[in-house]
């Protein structure tokens, strides 16, 4: 038995009505409704948060750290995702948000956009190396990386082996803070201000890294209201190195691709769209591309399930913000020494998630598939979800996996009842004769 995986996305049992809204929207078919409420299949869930978005009863929730958790450390640093800037309409400079973060209790701030600058440079250097798979796929969106682990294992080698901006930012932030204040790194907590549950999960159970440099993540939704009254003054820090407009641009879809490889890249947003494009990559139809950026959320990180502002509005806010920033590229802004001073490369391979396989043993998996195909023939094909599985095909799969029986299908059950009723009528009539 594999140990239970950590997930930020969870179910609030009390609120769940057992409806089927979330079933059909899960991109990895990781939800079942059993016994009148939803269950999230631990080994298939990629923490994208689509179910959080569609649940009318708010029964799907994302677990993140509360602001009080920063007190567990002697010092705390806030690492705002660039998408945080998109939450405030008409924001003129990121420094207003950075000052607000200090006022709600953080000792220091470090822009993840700055981490994105460094990562941009690192990926650009990586792209110069020969014999890279094409296209190279961004590792920035953890939901997309986990999607590949579950549904596209043959594309794992295409994922770029450079760390995520939040990780690089945390490593730099902690080192610089300790140097400045002459303190022990263990006393410094680095908290990501997150637009999504996938990043929270990526901190607790890192992918591509043995350990995360982050201490936790605070939901944008939770901190937004606290920051709002403080967005009125810029921070004044003589040592502050602002992120470039390219780093800030990572907040929205195509921001990463246009910073990393404007010459020959594609960016796709929305998990279903990402799936369609990954199918194309699998079919070898996009091997002329150098770089592929995939974001699980529509609009990119500004569309994260834990953001407050409408994703189109915040995308616009980011656009206006970067237009006012100087046009300096990370190629010139980030010293090359940064790439050797801090760890850029992943230190763990991206591993295949075998949850999709019907059985560990291939012969057994084949037998199960044969049975599954026979069951599918008998099912009505309505994909109604009444059985609690998202589609008739997954229902058949659940039967061969031993999770349910054919009589859990209300349509098969009705047919069976009709036959039984007919038999009872016949039985009654024979008696009378």
């Amino acid at each position: 038995m594999e140990e239970r995986r950590y997930h930020s996305v969870r179910l609030d049992k009390e609120r769940c009505k057992g409806c089927t809204n979330c079933l059909r929207h899960c991109p990895t078919e990781a939800i079942r409704v059993r016994g009148g409420r939803a269950h999230i299949l631990d080994n298939l869930c990629i923490d994208c948060g689509e179910c959080i978005r569609v649940c009318e009863y708010h029964a799907k929730v994302a677990f993140t750290d509360s602001l009080a958790n920063i007190k567990a450390y002697k010092y705390s640093i806030a690492l705002p995702a660039p998408s945080l800037y998109g939450q405030f309409r008409g924001l003129k400079r990121p420094e207003y948000v950075l000052e607000a973060l200090k006022r709600v209790g953080f000792d220091d701030v470090f822009e993840v956009a700055r981490g994105a600058d460094v990562v941009t440079r690192a990926i650009r250097e990586r792209l110069r190396e020969p014999d890279l798979p094409r296209p190279l796929i961004s590792s920035a969106c953890p939901a997309v990386v986990r999607l590949i682990q579950v549904r596209f294992p043959d594309l794992l080698d295409n994922i770029v082996d450079i760390r995520q901006p939040m990780e690089v930012a945390a490593a730099i932030a902690r080192a610089e803070f300790c140097k400045k204040r002459d303190c022990d790194p263990a006393d410094v907590g680095c908290f990501f201000i997150t637009p999504c549950p996938a990043k929270m999960t990526a901190i607790r159970t890192p992918i591509g890294q043995k350990h995360s440099d982050l201490s936790g993540a605070i939901s944008m939704m939770d901190i937004y209201g606290m920051l709002l009254p403080h967005i009125n003054e810029m921070q004044s820090d003589p040592d502050f190195v602002p992120a470039t407009r390219f780093g800030v641009g990572w907040a929205t879809s195509s921001g990463e691709a246009s910073a990393v490889c404007p010459e020959n890249s594609l960016s796709v947003d929305g998990i279903e769209n990402v799936i369609r494009v990954l199918e194309e990559v699998e079919n070898n139809k996009l091997s002329d591309l150098v770089f592929l950026e995939g974001n699980a959320c529509i609009g990119g990180c500004v569309g994260g399930p834990l953001t407050f502002e409408n994703n189109f509005v915040s995308k616009n806010a980011i656009r206006h913000l970067v237009e006012q920033m100087p046009a300096v590229h990370p190629d010139t802004d980030v010293p090359i020494s940064m790439l050797t001073k801090y760890a850029m490369r992943c230190d763990e391979p991206f591993r295949e998630n075998h949850a999709v396989a019907l059985d560990e043993n291939r012969a057994e998996a084949m037998r199960k598939m044969k049975r599954m195909n026979e069951i599918i023939e008998r099912l009505p094909g309505y994909d109604c979800g009444s059985c609690g599985s998202p589609t008739c095909a997954t229902f058949a799969e659940d039967i061969v996996r031993g999770f349910c029986t054919e009589m859990d299908c209300i349509h098969l059950m009705r047919e069976r009842l009709q036959v039984m009723a007919q038999q009872m009528v016949e039985l009654a009539q024979t008696r009378r004769e």
Binding site: R151, V356, M369, K370
Partner: protein
């Protein structure tokens, strides 16, 4: 060899809206069987190419997936028109795709060579006026 199961995918001529559905289902099935890595990648490419060939060049036909304990077999057979010059058709860059197909980005003349390159065994038979049958085998790693 013991046949474990077989799935038949009918493919209609010039049906660009459903083009790719058969190969998508084939990939899905292989993943459920726990087939990954290099084999999955090669089957993905070859099955997509062969399905698209049916759509673009044939008068309709079918794609049959057969799974054996040690291998996966794909057989594409169509109702015509047949290939006049097989040797030419196997040449990289040679294509007879029409304008409609080319406008959709197909017709690079890599279809058959790509199938041959990706399959462990590849054979093609064609009779003018009758049809073409392509058989591809992919060995599964033990």
């Amino acid at each position: 060899m013991e046949e474990l199961f077989r799935t038949v995918y009918p493919v209609e001529a010039a049906d660009y809206t459903s083009a790719g559905q058969a190969s998508a289902d084939i990939k899905r099935k292989l993943k459920q069987l726990g087939v990954g890595g290099d084999v999955l990648r090669r089957v993905a490419v070859a099955s997509y190419e062969v399905e698209l060939n049916l759509v673009i060049h044939s008068m309709g036909g079918e794609l049959v997936l057969t799974v054996y304990p040690e291998a996966v077999q794909l057989v594409s057979s169509d109702r015509g028109p047949g290939i006049p010059d097989l040797e030419m058709a196997m040449r990289e860059g040679y294509s007879t795709a029409n304008e409609e197909a080319r406008s959709l980005g197909f017709g690079a003349g890599m279809g058959l060579p790509n199938m041959k390159r990706n399959a462990d065994d590849f054979s093609i038979e064609s009779e003018l006026g009758k049809g073409t049958t392509i058989t591809m085998r992919f060995n599964l790693p033990l």
